[in-house]
């Protein structure tokens, strides 16, 4: 959730992979045999090997000190029982990493389960049990879980059993002096269960009562040695249950303030002075748009390289004069980049965590249709482009108009219907416009798409006879006959690329209906690349 400079805080490793990495680094000679992991011990329930100090903890998380102190106080001294905690706050405010680092600092054993990777009750339950039973999936056990468990009732019984065993081991541990060196011994007799991304649990099964169940787990288990921690991006009042639930103690992580963002961005920067001067210029306007550190840092990295361009190899401290010069250099780019803040994707910046890049990828897919540059930045076959345009037309134009638009002579450019714009007509026009805004593109059956496609391509053949020679593949007589099988393939790849969405089949007509999800800008761009007069065909209300 957090992308700060220091590597150990950003990398969200699972504990088993961490252990694996450590073992690998120890015996590098037999790295090929790294599959033979040592059996897990109770010590594996502690996060990280190197110990961290309190000062490090605070300085690693600028702007989070009050939350860290609150959490440490709530967790309390060793062996103190605890109520369930509910940690919430927006995305990328450091909820998970703060909690994990605190546990590393306290050296207390815990079990971590994220509802993203454990995406249904069965996997969640089994993953928790696996960790508690110190079970590792491997080739020898066929990558199976320690226990099979699907129902909450089984889970509670197995969990209680497993927890008792772990707590007994922890109690037994206390007496012995630390025999093994190197390994961090868990402190205390408490074991904590951490549920991350808890908000996803709400969508798992609307009818089931898994949310009140997990909230009530503490009361159901009746084990004072167990602490529950929920991490969620949604606040408590967005969790609904019929008869309510036992409310945990809330801890709020607010978004970073401007100063905090500055501190975070300044971490790990080599030339502090110049970057600080840079942030003076850009941070304020960008902060008005978004407060997410991951988005800000993605937007800043290309800008900063622009900012540094006139500097050359200059490494010293910038004076006022130089700052002014740099500012003047950057000024035009800032205004431009403010409106394209999210175009920078997959920037290989050092601090983007794996989580971050995934998020950015996800959104770039969604935003892909809103590219605002003049050139298409992807490649597509010509027939796919035509298909895209015909889908766009089929979605935008009413079906009744198809006949007049695509008659045999092609184009309806000469047939403008003039109408008196009476008061009523204007009103109608307005409501229609409103409707278009609200309803979005319409749906169409496959037949209509193919018909429009054929019309368009035939029109192109008539109008661009000369050009067709240079165009190669599209021209020729065989084009139409070869078309069909090819087009269906293209269609399915367009659907996969999310340019056309496929709806459920209509109960009345029985055929599947499609819908174009391409914006008008995008369609016009595609048309321009084909030199196709798209604007002639769009029906304007």
């Amino acid at each position: 959730m957090d992308n700060q400079g220091s590597p150990q805080t950003t990398r969200r490793t699972t504990r088993s992979s961490l252990a694996a990495a450590n073992i690998n680094s120890e015996n590098t000679a037999e790295s090929s045999k790294s599959i033979d992991l040592q059996p897990m011990t109770i010590n594996d329930l502690v996060y990280g090997n190197e110990s961290a100090s309190f000062d490090e903890l605070i300085s690693n998380f600028p702007g989070r000190s009050s939350q860290i102190i609150d959490l440490i106080r709530l967790l309390g001294p060793i062996n103190s029982p605890i109520f369930p905690l509910f940690i919430y706050g927006g995305a990328s405010v450091g909820k998970t990493s703060v909690v994990l680092e605190i546990f590393r600092y306290l050296k207390r054993p815990f079990v971590y389960a994220s509802c993203i990777s454990c995406y249904n009750p069965k996997i969640l339950f089994e993953s928790i049990l696996n960790q508690l039973l110190l079970h590792r999936k491997s080739e020898s056990n066929g990558y199976s879980s320690a226990k099979r468990c699907e129902k909450p009732s089984d889970f509670v019984n197995l969990l209680r059993e497993a927890l008792r065993r772990v707590i007994d081991t922890l109690k037994g541990n206390k007496g012995k002096s630390s025999s093994k060196k190197g390994a961090v011994r868990p402190r205390g007799e408490m074991i904590y269960l951490i549920f991350d991304n808890f908000e996803l649990l709400r969508e798992w099964d609307k009818s089931s009562n898994i949310v009140p169940f997990v909230f009530k787990l503490h009361d159901i288990l009746r084990l004072p040695e167990v602490g529950l921690i929920f991490i969620s991006s949604a606040s408590l009042d967005t969790y609904y249950a019929d008869t309510g639930f036992v409310e945990p103690i809330p801890v709020y992580f607010p978004d970073y303030t401007e100063d905090n963002v500055r501190q975070i961005l300044m971490k790990g920067v080599t030339n502090q002075k110049i970057y600080s001067a840079f942030l003076d210029v850009v941070l304020k306007p960008f902060y008005r748009i978004t407060r997410r550190v991951n988005e800000l840092s993605a937007a800043f990295s290309p800008l900063f390289s622009k900012y540094c361009e006139p500097l050359g190899d200059f490494q010293g401290v910038p004076n006022e004069n130089l700052k002014r010069k740099l500012f003047a250099h950057l000024q035009p780019y800032v205004a431009h980049s403010l409106n394209e803040i999210f175009r920078v994707v997959n920037q290989p910046s050092s601090e983007t965590s794996s989580n971050n890049t995934r998020k950015l990828k996800g959104t770039s897919k969604k935003l892909g249709m809103y590219e605002s540059s003049d050139e298409l930045d992807f490649h597509m076959s010509t027939s796919a482009k035509y298909l895209l345009i015909s889908a766009f037309l089929a979605s935008r134009n009413p079906a009744t108009l198809d006949g007049s638009l695509f008659d045999s002579t092609g184009g309806s450019d000469n047939r403008k219907r003039k109408r008196k714009s009476s008061e009523k007509a204007m009103e109608q026009k307005e409501t229609a416009e409103q409707e278009l805004l609200m309803k979005g593109p319409g749906t169409f059956p496959l037949e209509r798409l193919l018909a429009i496609f054929q019309c368009i391509t035939s029109v192109v053949e008539y109008s661009t006879v000369e050009e067709s020679q240079t165009d190669g593949g599209t021209g020729g007589d065989g084009f139409n006959s070869l078309l069909m099988s090819d087009v269906l393939l293209q269609l399915s790849s367009l659907i996969n690329a999310n340019f056309i969405s496929k709806g459920t089949s209509c109960p009345l007509e029985g055929s599947t209906r499609y819908r174009s999800t391409v914006s008008e800008d995008m369609a016009l761009k595609v048309a321009r690349s084909l030199k196709f007069p798209l604007s002639k065909y769009i029906y304007r209300r």
Binding site: S80, G90, N339
Partner: protein
């Protein structure tokens, strides 16, 4: 939910809570003395820490608070104990419901009673615990009953047994226990969930209890006061309509509860002077007028036992470990930390652009457009920009991202749940905050553009 609604009527009170100085939140740097405190956490035994662990254990144990009410004759504890002990001694069948709001100690009191009875009549009682959240499915419930019966009577439980096997086993066990004059007590937590569906479990349990040979008590626990109305006719006619109502504590009880929980015992091995000091300071504070005000606020928002316990827990966590005494400040911070107003908090986290979008949606709502979606919001945003010359005018894709942020913050949500087909910009959305909340949020927002207030107040 009740709490949130209530608080939003009292903006002044809320602000007062927020501005109460909290030592840790300032400047983002920990005070110097904190490091010493934290060293204490890592170190060995010390009396303050021990006292803290003791008090936390008290608060977290579900029953401790209710031991206070053991000796009063008209408490639920006495009534419940009378009913249960008479059905144990007189060997009769019985059924009753424990009703009351969540967090009022239904299960805790029942636990205390059962503990006492198990001590008084050893080997005459066996308790089966079921929870509606886990066992609302008949199959599951019957299996769990069989499992617990096997465990308690040292029989071998077969996982493979079918529903029929298990229910026959239960009936046989009921008869056996009746013959041996052993009472089976079924505790059904979240009773209302057992009343979903065919109610086969309830029927077969209650039906088995109609015979002379059996000796069992069914106790339903529910926070739905109409739980008995949920039962089918055939089940209801077999159910004795005995109900016990559990209510939140009265204001007079509060003082006793605080003393009961927070005063340190003198025989706990803690140093005598410390205990005496701690207790006298606490006693002084409990009669303090300012403390009473805090408690009043707590009581007004939610007066259940559960809420009080969480309040005390939070106060205890804020205790200064160096001095080792609870202060008034601790309770004040505790109150503000457990009474959160999530929507206002997330409004404060919004960026300026996100606020613009919210205000646009608000304006569309005022204009009584039935539904709005991203496109209509953008139209309004453009209108605003044209008529007021606002400085914050960004491109459509930037706004779309801000719009998505709002969706993630759950300040707005889609009207329909179907995610298929439509792209985000066309799906209708609605605001999840009221006009008052938005207004209050804007007021509390640091450096909120003045034009937004103007836009909020004015139409068109």
């Amino acid at each position: 939910m009740y709490r949130f609604i209530f608080l939003s009527f009292f903006p002044r009170h809320f602000r007062l809570l927020l501005t109460s100085p909290s030592w840790s939140a300032e400047k983002g740097k920990p005070p110097v003395f904190l490091k010493n405190q934290l060293k204490i956490y890592m170190g060995q035994k010390n009396p303050v820490e021990e006292a803290l662990v003791l008090l936390r254990a008290r608060l977290c144990s579900p029953n401790f608070m209710f031991t206070l009410f053991l000796d009063s004759p008209d408490s639920n504890y006495s009534k419940l104990k009378y009913i249960l002990s008479s059905s144990v001694t007189e060997a009769c069948n019985n059924s009753l419901l424990l009703l009351g709001p969540r967090g009022c100690g239904k299960i805790a009191v029942l636990d205390l009673v059962l503990q006492d009875l198990l001590k008084e009549y050893p080997d005459m009682i066996s308790v089966i615990n079921l929870n509606g959240l886990l066992h609302s499915d008949d199959n599951c419930a019957v299996k769990e009953i069989a499992r617990q019966l096997c465990l308690q009577h040292e029989l071998v439980f077969s996982k493979m047994a079918s529903y029929d096997d298990n229910s026959q086993f239960i009936i046989a066990m009921l008869q056996e226990c009746g013959l041996a004059h052993k009472t089976l007590i079924f505790v059904l937590d979240e009773f209302d969930l057992f009343a979903q569906g065919k109610q086969r479990l309830l029927y077969s349990l209650l039906d088995a209890m109609q015979s002379v040979t059996s000796q069992a008590v069914v106790i339903g626990v529910s926070c739905r006061l109409d739980a008995d109305q949920l039962l089918e006719k055939r089940v209801r006619s077999r159910f004795s309509h005995r109900k016990l109502l559990f209510l939140p504590p009265s204001k007079d009880d509060l003082q006793r509860i605080f003393e009961h929980i927070l005063l340190l015992p003198e025989d706990s091995g803690l140093p005598y002077e410390y205990v005496a000091d701690f207790n006298s300071k606490l006693n002084n504070m409990l009669i303090d007028k300012k403390f009473k005000e805090i408690v009043e606020k707590l009581f007004n928002s939610d007066s259940t036992f559960n809420h009080i316990v969480r309040f005390l827990f939070s106060a205890l966590c804020h205790m200064d470990l160096k001095s080792g005494f609870l202060s008034l400040e601790n309770f004040r911070t505790a109150l503000s930390s457990i009474e959160t107003q999530a929507k206002l908090e997330s409004l404060k986290d919004c960026s300026i652009l996100e606020l613009y979008i919210l205000v646009c949606m608000k304006r569309l709502e005022v204009k009584e457009k039935e539904t709005c979606n991203f496109n209509s919001i953008m139209k309004e945003y453009k209108n605003i920009h044209e008529s007021f010359q606002t400085p914050d005018y960004y491109a459509r894709n930037v706004c779309l991202r801000a719009f998505e942020h709002l969706l993630q913050r759950e300040l707005i949500s889609f009207l329909d749940n179907r995610s298929s087909g439509q792209s985000i910009e066309f799906r209708p959305v609605k605001l999840l905050i009221s006009w008052q909340e938005l207004h209050q949020g804007l007021k509390q927002y640091r450096s909120c553009p003045a034009v937004l207030f103007k836009l909020m107040d004015r139409e068109g």
